[in-house]
Amino acid sequence: MIYLQLFLSFFKIGLFGFGGGLAILSLIQMEVEQYGWMSQQEFVDIVAVSQVTPGPIGINCATYVGYTTAGFWGSVLATFAIVLPSLIIMLSICKAYFWLNKRFQGNPYFEQTLRMLRFAVIGLVASAALMLIKPTNFIDSISWIIFAVVAILTVLPTILSPLHLPAHTKKVTDIISHPILLIITAGLAGYLIYS
């Protein structure tokens, strides 16, 4: 009943995946781990592939897990399943758009729930990262150096933004903190160090 399991898992991920992309990772990780569909390493590898290929991470993971567990139709089903809750919920929102706008704007129940979900989602992203700090991903001290360099470069634009640096400096920090460049550089470093 692999098809049913795939459908239910990715439907659940689509239904409870608030906050997009990175927040969805911890949900995918939990489902994938529960059924043993992918090793932890494979999961990290596919996240890496997702970062350098176009499209939403959720779709990328659904397609990949679906294919590796149940072939072509598995990938179609998993991708459909992750999109389905969005279709149901967003279409209902669209149909009731004007009614919703009037009722929910400034509604304390609605606004506070959204605010708290934004906080909780930060925790979800953190848990996704924490769960990946394992000897399979961090094989030696060089791994930690790569981790530190990438983390520092990624937060650099956010740290520097209040300083109002000149435009060309900002451009440089934006380029050196770009995820694609960081992954390719890390891959080259890995190739040179470990092979």
């Binding site: 997009g20 911890s26 592939v49 990946l132 961090f138 470093a189 190739y191």
Partner: protein, 179 residues
């Protein structure tokens, strides 16, 4: 309308790296500035709704714009256009990757990539905390959520549900008191 939306979203889906948020400026340029399908204000409302609703932000925005512009056909075109490029690319990679990852050179490269990916997941927490205006007290929420999932292996679904229910209860109590 199906083909127009399909083509527009296919273009956006093929050329944006980095997922949902990276798509938003491109969607704005195509849909608001070039085609004039919806106006600026509606676009901002759309972003708020696409973020508030569960699911992928790119897909949510495709559904909203598809519906506003072309009804059911619009939705079908926009969603297919947004999903198809990444589906096909990942499918191709999945087919060859199982063989490739055995290659020593690829395995060596991934040894360097894995810690970088963990950093790429962890680092945006800083920016997210800043834009969500996380304070010292409210920081307890993400910390509790992270520890529950990481150490006790609580499914994130329960964390999301608990957050919604607890918030509604607390808001309800404070609202009643005020009245």
């Amino acid at each position: 309308m199906f083909w127009q939306l399909f083509y527009t979203y296919l273009k956006i889906g093929t050329f944006t790296l980095g997922g949902g948020y990276a798509m938003l400026p491109l969607i704005q340029r195509e849909v608001v500035d070039r085609k004039g399908w919806i106006n600026e204000e509606e676009f901002l409302n759309m972003i708020a709704l696409a973020q508030a609703a569960p699911g992928l932000i790119a897909v949510n925005s495709a559904i909203f714009i598809g519906w506003r512009v072309g009804g059911w056909r619009g939705v079908a075109g926009a969603v297919l256009g947004a999903v198809l490029p990444s589906f096909l690319i990942i499918l191709a990679i999945a087919i060859v990757f199982t063989d490739w990852k055995e290659l020593p050179a690829v395995e060596a490269a991934f040894k360097g990539i894995r810690p970088a990916v963990v950093a790429l997941i962890a680092a945006p927490i800083f920016k997210m905390s800043k834009s969500a205006k996380l304070g010292w007290l409210t920081a307890l929420i993400p910390i509790t959520a992270a520890l529950l999932i990481w150490l006790l292996h609580v499914n994130p679904v329960w964390v999301i549900l608990a957050t919604i229910i607890l918030t509604l209860i607390i808001v309800d109590i404070t609202e009643r008191r005020r009245k």
